[in-house]
């Protein structure tokens, strides 16, 4: 097992390298850089631009260096001292800006994953056992809707319903009066009251997908001879189902971390922009628009790394559950 973990972690290194390269390429794509857009804004507003100062800034940030040198400098900063570069727009180090945002992204993604599991498990079992019942059709219908409605449209629709019929203003993770307040019991309640909307929105499509997979897997298992044997031996029905076939059909729940997590992180990004949540999404969006390259690049890199860690976890859990995987 240790050897497997080691191999698997080693495997991540080239993937991470590729991701960092793609992240850096993306933020280098726009023509010009933060300096040129800053100079343009300054001359637009009639401010004098001091050529000496521009030269000095260019020197500091290395905008004239070739691509690979800029990339190497950035990577070296991250690897040697956890320095993700400088945010030009906020005028502070990137690392000071991203961690809180990445933390909330992680929390919301994990809570959404939990939501997906908790909702998909009973519904999936029900749909497989009572195939083609009215309940199954209802769940299948909602499942397809959940798959088909893009996150941001669901967010808008829920916001509209909450605003129009419940009189709530949804958006953010705290009401304005708690935004700056220290954590207290009341703030936690307020936080939870805001949390359910993004979690439902982000989890919807993942839940729908998982229900479909569980239903299909369990349906296959339910007709296997060992189930018939268990039933013939007189096991109570709930035990027949829950004890063996469900356990086997559960594999996709674990492997789901691998593909649901990138999906959830994507969902968090766009939903957060619509709902204005203090996660990575809105900040990444602003950074991209204003060409704040190191901030944007670090976000893309870290979000990718987050999904990679999720895949690693799901692979390890699968290997733990199913010894055959380890030895292949």
């Amino acid at each position: 097992m240790l050897g497997y973990i080691f191999r698997r972690v080693l495997y991540m290194v080239p993937t991470l390298f590729g991701m960092s390269l793609i992240s850096f390429m993306i933020i280098q794509l726009p023509p010009g850089d933060y300096l040129t857009s800053m100079i343009a804004t300054m001359s637009d507003s009639g401010q004098a631009v001091d050529p000496a100062q521009i030269e000095r800034l260019k020197q500091i940030y290395g905008f004239d260096d070739p691509f690979y040198l800029q990339y190497l400098k950035w990577m070296w900063g991250i690897l040697s001292r956890g320095d993700f570069g400088w945010s030009f727009e906020w005028n502070q180090p990137v690392s000071g800006l991203i961690w809180a945002r990445m933390g909330s992204t992680l929390v919301i993604s994990l809570l959404s994953l939990l939501f997906v599991w908790i909702v998909a498990l009973p519904i999936g079992i029900y749909s497989a056992v009572r195939r083609h019942s009215a309940g199954d059709h209802v769940f299948t219908f909602f499942g397809f809707i959940g798959l088909a409605v893009p996150n941001f449209i669901l967010a808008l629709a829920l916001m509209y319903v909450a605003y129009k019929y419940l009189g709530l203003s949804v958006g953010g993770l705290n009401s304005p009066e708690y935004a700056e307040a220290p954590w207290s019991f009341a703030k936690v309640i307020d936080f939870l009251a805001h949390l359910w909307i993004p979690i439902i929105i982000i989890g919807a499509s993942g839940t729908a997908a998982l229900i479909r997979i569980l239903r299909a897997n369990l349906t296959d298992e339910l007709h296997k001879p060992y189930v018939v044997t268990a039933r013939a031996k007189g096991l109570p029905e709930y035990k027949v189902i829950l004890k063996y076939p469900v356990r086997i059909a559960l594999n996709p729940f674990v492997s789901a971390i691998g593909w649901v997590l990138p999906h959830l992180v994507s969902g968090v990004t766009i939903t957060a922009i619509v709902l204005n949540l203090p996660t990575a999404g809105p900040l990444l969006f602003r950074a991209l628009v204003s060409q704040d390259m190191y901030l944007a690049g670090s976000f893309i890199l870290l979000l990718s790394a987050l999904t990679l860690v999720g895949m690693l976890l799901s692979d390890l859990l699968l290997a733990l559950l199913d010894p055959r995987i380890r030895f292949n």
Partner: protein, 395 residues
């Protein structure tokens, strides 16, 4: 593959050639029921799936709407009528009641009257049941050029007097007809999916074939690249790529770059599918036979292997289209995809960004969303059906 291919090169093939095979003995097609070609089997299996057929019909309908957008839309998408801002949708009625109490057939919509909203202190339009705006089919309306070529001024439906208001799905902030804009948006949004899928098809088939056919380090390298790309969360990646489009570019070039961006992530699943099929087919007898016959590698790939997985590719492609449509819609919604004056479903949803606007004019959110959801659902159902039908010999 059709049946005789599996028999090897020396056994005499039956004269029932109706598939992607080559046969030197193609004299006068005699199709017997004993061996139906694979395409007819696929089609037959597909037709039996009712949901997939309905979904396919909806997809066809949406593309037809996109094709004839200029004719189907009663107004031009950019025409704004400031005197009708945020006008609510009107329903179509068939009969009018005359002053003497009798009813008469007269296709019409109801006009508007202005009310002052005392709470919000602004004008609002409400549908006035007493005003009748007669409408008709094939009426003269604003002049346009069909496909930019044929000058016309007939519209499928519209008010008989062009100055009358007819807004079946309401109007937006500038008094533009939402229905017409939705129809024009259908053309852009549905075609983004098609063009994007065509591009990822090329990428996916090329890389997938190379990967599956040659194996070895080429395969490993391509698989690693695919792994990296598919592990990255799509939306941050799309955001990054779309934000790189210079603001000064023309709408047409932005359109093409957006489709490239959208297909940049879509090709990976296709490449995987193609690779898997290649690996399976590489050791089939008919491939070995062709190789021994002295076929070149290109001929092996394009003439012998690829035709046998066309139906699978078709299914994967259909299932990839909705992702592309959602991607375009999301990017345009955020304001970094397609931009006005281009009209797409995402651009329309941009007007629904503000929740207060949606509260006063919910039709700005409802109709474009509905269009997106219907399109995505139809592609999913149709693709599922196609996937089930893709392997006609599997039962």
């Amino acid at each position: 593959m059709s049946i005789h291919e599996t028999l090897g090169p020396h056994s005499k093939p039956p004269l029932t050639v109706d598939g992607p095979s080559i046969s030197p003995l193609k004299q006068g097609k005699t199709v017997s029921t004993a061996a139906i070609g694979p395409w007819r089997l696929v089609a037959g299996k597909l037709v039996r799936q009712k949901v997939a057929m309905v979904a396919g019909a909806i997809i066809l309908f949406l593309y037809l709407v996109g094709l004839f957008a200029e004719f189907l839309a009663p107004a031009l998408p950019a025409t704004s009528k400031p005197q009708y801002t945020y006008a609510p949708p009107q329903g179509i009625s068939l009969f009018v009641t005359k002053p003497d109490g009798s009813t008469e057939f007269n296709l019409h919509v109801k006009g508007y009257k202005v009310e002052i909203d005392k709470a919000a202190l602004r004008r609002t339009f409400v549908v006035d049941d007493n005003k009748v705006v007669p409408i008709g089919f094939f009426v003269k309306g604003p002049a346009y050029q069909l496909w930019g070529l044929i000058p016309m001024d007939r519209h499928l439906i519209g008010p008989i007097s062009p100055s009358d208001p007819m807004y079946l799905l309401g109007t937006d902030r500038l008094g533009r007809d939402v229905f017409s804009r939705l129809v024009y948006g259908t053309r852009v949004s549905m075609s983004v999916g098609l063009v994007g899928v065509a591009m990822s098809l090329i990428l996916g088939v090329v890389f997938g074939s190379i990967s599956g056919f040659y194996g070895g380090w080429v395969d490993t390298l391509i698989q690693r690249i695919i792994e990296v790309i598919s592990a990255m969360p799509t939306i941050p990646l799309w955001l990054g790529l779309a934000a790189a489009i210079p603001l000064t570019w023309s709408p047409v070039s932005v359109y093409f770059v957006i489709t490239i961006i959208v297909s940049f992530l879509g090709w990976t699943s296709l490449a995987r599918e193609v690779r898997g099929r290649f690996l399976a087919l590489r050791s089939e007898d008919f491939v070995t036979a062709a190789k021994l016959d002295g076929s070149s590698e290109a001929r092996l790939i394009f003439r012998h292997i690829l035709p046998s997985l066309t139906s699978h590719i078709l299914a994967v492609v259909t299932l990839a289209v909705p992702t592309m449509i959602v991607a375009e819609t999301s990017l345009s919604f955020l304001g970094i995809g397609l931009k006005p004056p281009v009209v797409s479903w995402g651009v329309l949803l941009q007007d629904a960004q503000n929740i207060r606007t949606v509260a006063t004019a919910p039709w700005l959110l409802i109709w474009p969303s509905l269009a997106v959801v219907v399109a995505v659902l139809s592609f999913n159902f149709f693709g599922d059906g196609l996937r089930d039908a893709a392997d006609p010999y599997d039962n």
